[in-house]
Symmetry: C2
Subunit: 187 residues, 2 copies
Protein backbone atom coordinates (compact mmCIF):
# COMPACT_ATOMS: atom_id res chain seq x y z
CA UNK A 1 0.00 0.00 0.00
CA UNK A 2 1.65 3.27 -1.09
CA UNK A 3 1.65 6.36 1.12
CA UNK A 4 -1.19 8.17 -0.67
CA UNK A 5 -3.42 5.10 -0.30
CA UNK A 6 -2.36 4.75 3.32
CA UNK A 7 -3.23 8.41 3.93
CA UNK A 8 -6.71 8.00 2.48
CA UNK A 9 -7.27 4.71 4.35
CA UNK A 10 -6.31 6.13 7.76
CA UNK A 11 -9.69 7.47 8.73
CA UNK A 12 -11.37 7.62 12.11
CA UNK A 13 -13.58 4.52 11.98
CA UNK A 14 -16.72 4.30 14.10
CA UNK A 15 -18.56 1.41 12.43
CA UNK A 16 -17.05 -2.05 12.46
CA UNK A 17 -17.71 -5.49 11.01
CA UNK A 18 -18.71 -8.10 13.60
CA UNK A 19 -15.30 -9.76 13.29
CA UNK A 20 -12.66 -10.22 15.96
CA UNK A 21 -9.11 -8.98 15.50
CA UNK A 22 -6.70 -11.92 15.95
CA UNK A 23 -4.07 -11.47 18.65
CA UNK A 24 -1.13 -12.11 16.25
CA UNK A 25 -2.34 -9.19 14.10
CA UNK A 26 -2.48 -6.95 17.17
CA UNK A 27 1.01 -8.12 18.15
CA UNK A 28 2.36 -7.19 14.68
CA UNK A 29 0.77 -3.75 14.89
CA UNK A 30 2.21 -3.14 18.36
CA UNK A 31 5.65 -4.23 17.11
CA UNK A 32 5.42 -1.56 14.40
CA UNK A 33 4.57 1.07 17.01
CA UNK A 34 7.87 0.37 18.78
CA UNK A 35 9.59 2.08 15.83
CA UNK A 36 7.95 5.39 16.74
CA UNK A 37 10.34 8.11 17.84
CA UNK A 38 10.14 9.01 21.54
CA UNK A 39 11.98 11.68 23.52
CA UNK A 40 15.59 10.55 24.03
CA UNK A 41 14.40 7.13 22.75
CA UNK A 42 12.80 6.66 26.17
CA UNK A 43 10.09 4.28 24.81
CA UNK A 44 7.77 4.83 27.77
CA UNK A 45 4.60 3.47 26.13
CA UNK A 46 2.88 0.40 27.51
CA UNK A 47 -0.22 -1.33 26.19
CA UNK A 48 -3.38 -2.93 27.47
CA UNK A 49 -5.30 -5.01 24.92
CA UNK A 50 -9.01 -5.43 25.59
CA UNK A 51 -11.14 -7.67 23.41
CA UNK A 52 -13.77 -8.44 26.05
CA UNK A 53 -16.83 -6.41 25.12
CA UNK A 54 -18.27 -6.50 28.63
CA UNK A 55 -15.11 -4.92 29.99
CA UNK A 56 -15.22 -2.30 27.23
CA UNK A 57 -18.85 -1.56 28.13
CA UNK A 58 -17.90 -1.10 31.79
CA UNK A 59 -15.09 1.31 30.82
CA UNK A 60 -17.48 3.21 28.55
CA UNK A 61 -20.11 3.54 31.31
CA UNK A 62 -17.49 4.57 33.90
CA UNK A 63 -15.97 7.17 31.59
CA UNK A 64 -19.38 8.58 30.57
CA UNK A 65 -20.40 8.97 34.22
CA UNK A 66 -17.18 10.75 35.13
CA UNK A 67 -17.34 13.05 32.11
CA UNK A 68 -20.93 14.04 33.00
CA UNK A 69 -19.82 14.73 36.58
CA UNK A 70 -16.98 16.88 35.22
CA UNK A 71 -19.42 18.81 33.02
CA UNK A 72 -21.73 19.36 36.02
CA UNK A 73 -18.74 20.76 37.93
CA UNK A 74 -17.63 22.99 35.05
CA UNK A 75 -20.33 23.92 32.52
CA UNK A 76 -17.67 25.72 30.44
CA UNK A 77 -15.69 22.51 29.88
CA UNK A 78 -15.09 21.90 26.14
CA UNK A 79 -16.39 18.36 26.68
CA UNK A 80 -19.89 19.84 27.08
CA UNK A 81 -20.49 19.49 23.32
CA UNK A 82 -20.74 15.73 23.96
CA UNK A 83 -23.24 15.99 26.83
CA UNK A 84 -26.29 14.76 24.90
CA UNK A 85 -24.40 11.72 23.59
CA UNK A 86 -23.03 10.97 27.06
CA UNK A 87 -26.57 11.02 28.48
CA UNK A 88 -27.74 8.49 25.88
CA UNK A 89 -27.72 5.04 27.52
CA UNK A 90 -27.41 3.38 24.11
CA UNK A 91 -24.22 5.28 23.29
CA UNK A 92 -21.06 3.23 23.78
CA UNK A 93 -18.04 5.54 23.47
CA UNK A 94 -16.16 2.68 21.78
CA UNK A 95 -18.79 2.31 19.04
CA UNK A 96 -19.04 -1.45 19.70
CA UNK A 97 -15.57 -2.03 18.28
CA UNK A 98 -14.21 -5.55 18.78
CA UNK A 99 -10.96 -4.33 20.35
CA UNK A 100 -9.62 -1.48 22.44
CA UNK A 101 -5.92 -0.73 22.89
CA UNK A 102 -5.01 1.54 25.79
CA UNK A 103 -1.65 3.27 25.36
CA UNK A 104 -0.47 4.13 28.84
CA UNK A 105 2.70 5.19 30.62
CA UNK A 106 4.23 6.55 33.78
CA UNK A 107 3.09 10.03 34.73
CA UNK A 108 6.68 10.77 35.72
CA UNK A 109 7.67 10.91 32.05
CA UNK A 110 7.51 14.58 31.03
CA UNK A 111 7.04 13.77 27.35
CA UNK A 112 4.41 11.06 27.96
CA UNK A 113 1.54 12.67 26.02
CA UNK A 114 3.75 13.38 23.02
CA UNK A 115 5.45 9.96 23.08
CA UNK A 116 2.10 8.16 23.31
CA UNK A 117 0.56 10.31 20.56
CA UNK A 118 3.45 9.51 18.18
CA UNK A 119 3.05 5.83 19.09
CA UNK A 120 -0.71 6.06 18.47
CA UNK A 121 -0.04 7.52 15.01
CA UNK A 122 2.14 4.50 14.24
CA UNK A 123 -0.61 2.21 15.53
CA UNK A 124 -3.21 3.89 13.33
CA UNK A 125 -1.03 3.77 10.19
CA UNK A 126 0.05 0.18 10.83
CA UNK A 127 -3.58 -0.86 11.29
CA UNK A 128 -4.64 0.98 8.11
CA UNK A 129 -1.85 -0.72 6.14
CA UNK A 130 -3.42 -4.07 7.17
CA UNK A 131 -6.98 -3.08 6.24
CA UNK A 132 -8.00 -2.35 9.82
CA UNK A 133 -9.68 0.77 11.13
CA UNK A 134 -8.97 2.77 14.28
CA UNK A 135 -10.26 5.74 16.19
CA UNK A 136 -8.65 7.59 19.11
CA UNK A 137 -11.54 7.84 21.56
CA UNK A 138 -10.58 10.48 24.11
CA UNK A 139 -14.01 10.04 25.74
CA UNK A 140 -12.92 6.59 26.91
CA UNK A 141 -10.02 7.63 29.15
CA UNK A 142 -11.83 9.07 32.21
CA UNK A 143 -11.56 6.03 34.49
CA UNK A 144 -11.46 6.61 38.25
CA UNK A 145 -13.11 3.53 39.78
CA UNK A 146 -10.26 1.63 41.49
CA UNK A 147 -11.96 -1.70 40.80
CA UNK A 148 -12.04 -1.06 37.07
CA UNK A 149 -8.47 0.27 37.09
CA UNK A 150 -7.42 -2.96 38.83
CA UNK A 151 -9.45 -5.13 36.46
CA UNK A 152 -7.80 -3.66 33.37
CA UNK A 153 -4.39 -3.65 35.02
CA UNK A 154 -3.37 0.02 35.02
CA UNK A 155 -0.17 0.06 37.11
CA UNK A 156 0.12 2.64 39.89
CA UNK A 157 1.36 6.01 38.68
CA UNK A 158 0.38 5.30 35.07
CA UNK A 159 -2.01 7.37 32.99
CA UNK A 160 -4.11 6.38 30.00
CA UNK A 161 -3.07 8.73 27.20
CA UNK A 162 -4.54 7.10 24.11
CA UNK A 163 -7.58 4.81 24.07
CA UNK A 164 -7.66 3.55 20.46
CA UNK A 165 -10.36 1.25 19.11
CA UNK A 166 -9.43 -1.28 16.45
CA UNK A 167 -11.40 -3.45 14.08
CA UNK A 168 -12.34 -4.24 10.50
CA UNK A 169 -14.27 -1.25 9.14
CA UNK A 170 -17.66 -1.66 7.49
CA UNK A 171 -16.52 1.10 5.13
CA UNK A 172 -13.71 3.66 4.89
CA UNK A 173 -15.43 7.06 4.80
CA UNK A 174 -13.95 10.09 3.04
CA UNK A 175 -11.99 12.55 5.15
CA UNK A 176 -14.00 15.00 7.20
CA UNK A 177 -13.54 18.65 6.20
CA UNK A 178 -9.98 19.92 6.52
CA UNK A 179 -8.53 23.37 6.00
CA UNK A 180 -5.31 23.99 4.09
CA UNK A 181 -2.07 24.28 6.10
CA UNK A 182 -2.09 27.39 8.27
CA UNK A 183 1.39 28.77 7.52
CA UNK A 184 2.01 31.69 9.88
CA UNK A 185 5.33 32.73 8.38
CA UNK A 186 7.92 31.53 5.86
CA UNK A 187 11.44 32.79 6.48
CA UNK B 1 6.68 3.13 -1.15
CA UNK B 2 4.93 0.38 0.86
CA UNK B 3 4.37 0.67 4.60
CA UNK B 4 7.27 -1.57 5.64
CA UNK B 5 9.68 0.51 3.53
CA UNK B 6 8.15 3.70 4.90
CA UNK B 7 8.63 2.40 8.45
CA UNK B 8 12.29 1.65 7.86
CA UNK B 9 12.85 4.98 6.08
CA UNK B 10 11.31 7.08 8.87
CA UNK B 11 14.39 7.47 10.96
CA UNK B 12 15.56 10.42 13.04
CA UNK B 13 18.01 12.09 10.64
CA UNK B 14 20.82 14.27 11.98
CA UNK B 15 23.11 14.49 8.94
CA UNK B 16 21.89 16.18 5.79
CA UNK B 17 23.02 16.80 2.22
CA UNK B 18 23.85 20.43 1.45
CA UNK B 19 20.67 20.75 -0.61
CA UNK B 20 17.72 23.04 -0.03
CA UNK B 21 14.17 21.74 0.28
CA UNK B 22 11.98 23.44 -2.33
CA UNK B 23 8.97 25.29 -0.96
CA UNK B 24 6.46 23.36 -3.12
CA UNK B 25 7.71 20.10 -1.55
CA UNK B 26 7.23 21.56 1.93
CA UNK B 27 3.75 22.71 0.93
CA UNK B 28 2.84 19.19 -0.22
CA UNK B 29 4.11 17.70 3.04
CA UNK B 30 2.13 20.22 5.10
CA UNK B 31 -0.99 19.45 3.07
CA UNK B 32 -0.59 15.78 4.00
CA UNK B 33 -0.34 16.72 7.68
CA UNK B 34 -3.78 18.32 7.52
CA UNK B 35 -5.21 14.78 7.25
CA UNK B 36 -3.97 13.97 10.75
CA UNK B 37 -6.71 13.31 13.29
CA UNK B 38 -7.10 16.00 15.94
CA UNK B 39 -9.40 16.17 18.95
CA UNK B 40 -12.96 16.90 17.75
CA UNK B 41 -11.34 17.67 14.35
CA UNK B 42 -10.20 20.98 15.89
CA UNK B 43 -7.15 21.26 13.56
CA UNK B 44 -5.31 23.68 15.86
CA UNK B 45 -1.85 23.23 14.33
CA UNK B 46 -0.10 26.14 12.64
CA UNK B 47 3.28 26.17 10.94
CA UNK B 48 6.34 28.33 10.67
CA UNK B 49 8.76 27.39 7.89
CA UNK B 50 12.37 28.48 8.40
CA UNK B 51 14.96 27.95 5.67
CA UNK B 52 17.23 30.81 6.74
CA UNK B 53 20.23 29.20 8.41
CA UNK B 54 21.16 32.35 10.31
CA UNK B 55 17.71 32.45 11.91
CA UNK B 56 18.00 28.75 12.76
CA UNK B 57 21.41 29.41 14.36
CA UNK B 58 19.91 32.23 16.46
CA UNK B 59 17.09 29.93 17.63
CA UNK B 60 19.62 27.20 18.43
CA UNK B 61 21.79 29.59 20.49
CA UNK B 62 18.77 31.04 22.30
CA UNK B 63 17.38 27.62 23.14
CA UNK B 64 20.78 26.29 24.30
CA UNK B 65 21.24 29.27 26.62
CA UNK B 66 17.79 28.88 28.14
CA UNK B 67 18.19 25.13 28.61
CA UNK B 68 21.53 25.67 30.39
CA UNK B 69 19.89 28.27 32.64
CA UNK B 70 17.09 25.77 33.39
CA UNK B 71 19.67 23.08 34.27
CA UNK B 72 21.46 25.55 36.57
CA UNK B 73 18.14 26.21 38.32
CA UNK B 74 17.28 22.51 38.61
CA UNK B 75 20.23 20.10 38.49
CA UNK B 76 17.77 17.16 38.59
CA UNK B 77 16.16 18.19 35.30
CA UNK B 78 16.12 15.28 32.81
CA UNK B 79 17.61 17.68 30.25
CA UNK B 80 20.90 17.52 32.20
CA UNK B 81 22.06 14.56 30.09
CA UNK B 82 22.51 17.07 27.25
CA UNK B 83 24.56 19.58 29.28
CA UNK B 84 27.93 18.81 27.67
CA UNK B 85 26.49 19.13 24.16
CA UNK B 86 24.70 22.37 25.08
CA UNK B 87 27.99 23.83 26.35
CA UNK B 88 29.70 23.03 23.03
CA UNK B 89 29.74 26.21 20.90
CA UNK B 90 30.05 24.14 17.74
CA UNK B 91 26.84 22.20 18.49
CA UNK B 92 23.82 23.41 16.56
CA UNK B 93 20.70 21.72 17.94
CA UNK B 94 19.31 21.61 14.38
CA UNK B 95 22.32 19.68 13.04
CA UNK B 96 22.78 22.21 10.23
CA UNK B 97 19.61 21.01 8.53
CA UNK B 98 18.45 23.17 5.59
CA UNK B 99 14.94 23.59 6.96
CA UNK B 100 13.09 23.80 10.25
CA UNK B 101 9.33 23.50 10.60
CA UNK B 102 7.83 24.72 13.86
CA UNK B 103 4.44 23.18 14.66
CA UNK B 104 2.72 25.60 16.98
CA UNK B 105 -0.74 26.32 18.32
CA UNK B 106 -2.82 28.18 20.86
CA UNK B 107 -2.10 27.27 24.45
CA UNK B 108 -5.84 27.47 25.08
CA UNK B 109 -6.31 24.18 23.21
CA UNK B 110 -6.31 21.43 25.86
CA UNK B 111 -5.26 18.76 23.37
CA UNK B 112 -2.53 20.89 21.74
CA UNK B 113 0.44 18.63 22.54
CA UNK B 114 -1.35 15.53 21.32
CA UNK B 115 -2.77 17.21 18.21
CA UNK B 116 0.64 18.60 17.25
CA UNK B 117 2.38 15.27 17.91
CA UNK B 118 -0.07 13.44 15.63
CA UNK B 119 0.48 16.15 13.01
CA UNK B 120 4.26 15.79 13.42
CA UNK B 121 3.98 12.04 12.83
CA UNK B 122 2.17 12.78 9.56
CA UNK B 123 4.89 15.29 8.65
CA UNK B 124 7.64 12.74 9.33
CA UNK B 125 5.94 9.97 7.34
CA UNK B 126 5.06 12.27 4.46
CA UNK B 127 8.67 13.48 4.30
CA UNK B 128 10.02 9.91 4.42
CA UNK B 129 7.69 8.90 1.59
CA UNK B 130 9.35 11.63 -0.52
CA UNK B 131 12.93 10.61 0.35
CA UNK B 132 13.35 13.37 2.93
CA UNK B 133 14.58 13.00 6.48
CA UNK B 134 13.28 14.59 9.66
CA UNK B 135 14.04 14.78 13.34
CA UNK B 136 11.89 16.18 16.15
CA UNK B 137 14.37 18.37 18.02
CA UNK B 138 12.86 19.11 21.42
CA UNK B 139 16.05 20.99 22.35
CA UNK B 140 15.08 23.69 19.86
CA UNK B 141 11.82 24.82 21.44
CA UNK B 142 13.07 26.82 24.47
CA UNK B 143 12.72 30.32 23.01
CA UNK B 144 12.03 33.22 25.38
CA UNK B 145 13.69 36.24 23.76
CA UNK B 146 10.78 38.46 22.59
CA UNK B 147 12.83 39.74 19.65
CA UNK B 148 13.38 36.21 18.32
CA UNK B 149 9.75 35.27 18.97
CA UNK B 150 8.74 38.33 16.95
CA UNK B 151 11.25 37.60 14.19
CA UNK B 152 9.92 34.08 13.66
CA UNK B 153 6.33 35.21 14.01
CA UNK B 154 5.02 33.23 17.00
CA UNK B 155 1.57 34.73 17.63
CA UNK B 156 0.70 35.74 21.20
CA UNK B 157 -0.63 32.88 23.27
CA UNK B 158 0.90 30.24 20.98
CA UNK B 159 3.39 27.59 22.05
CA UNK B 160 5.96 25.72 19.98
CA UNK B 161 5.14 22.05 20.43
CA UNK B 162 7.17 20.37 17.69
CA UNK B 163 10.34 21.77 16.13
CA UNK B 164 11.04 19.35 13.26
CA UNK B 165 14.09 19.59 11.00
CA UNK B 166 13.74 18.57 7.38
CA UNK B 167 16.20 17.85 4.60
CA UNK B 168 17.69 15.27 2.27
CA UNK B 169 19.55 12.72 4.40
CA UNK B 170 23.17 11.80 3.70
CA UNK B 171 22.14 8.27 4.70
CA UNK B 172 19.21 6.54 6.37
CA UNK B 173 20.65 4.82 9.46
CA UNK B 174 19.20 1.63 10.94
CA UNK B 175 16.77 2.00 13.83
CA UNK B 176 18.27 2.64 17.24
CA UNK B 177 17.64 -0.14 19.78
CA UNK B 178 14.00 -0.82 20.53
CA UNK B 179 12.36 -3.14 23.00
CA UNK B 180 9.40 -5.35 22.09
CA UNK B 181 5.89 -4.05 22.90
CA UNK B 182 5.35 -3.82 26.65
CA UNK B 183 1.92 -5.44 26.96
CA UNK B 184 0.74 -4.99 30.54
CA UNK B 185 -2.40 -7.08 30.19
CA UNK B 186 -4.51 -8.81 27.56
CA UNK B 187 -8.18 -9.21 28.43
Amino acid sequence: MDFKTLLSNRRSIRDFQDRDVPLPVIQEILEDTCLAPTASNGQPCRFIIIRNREVMKRISDESKGNLLADIAGNPDAPIKIYEAALRDDAFNVFYNAPCLILIIGSQEVLSLEIDCALTAAYLMFSAASRGLGTCWVALGARIRNPEILREIGIPKGCAIVAPVILGYPKAVPPASARHMPDIVREI
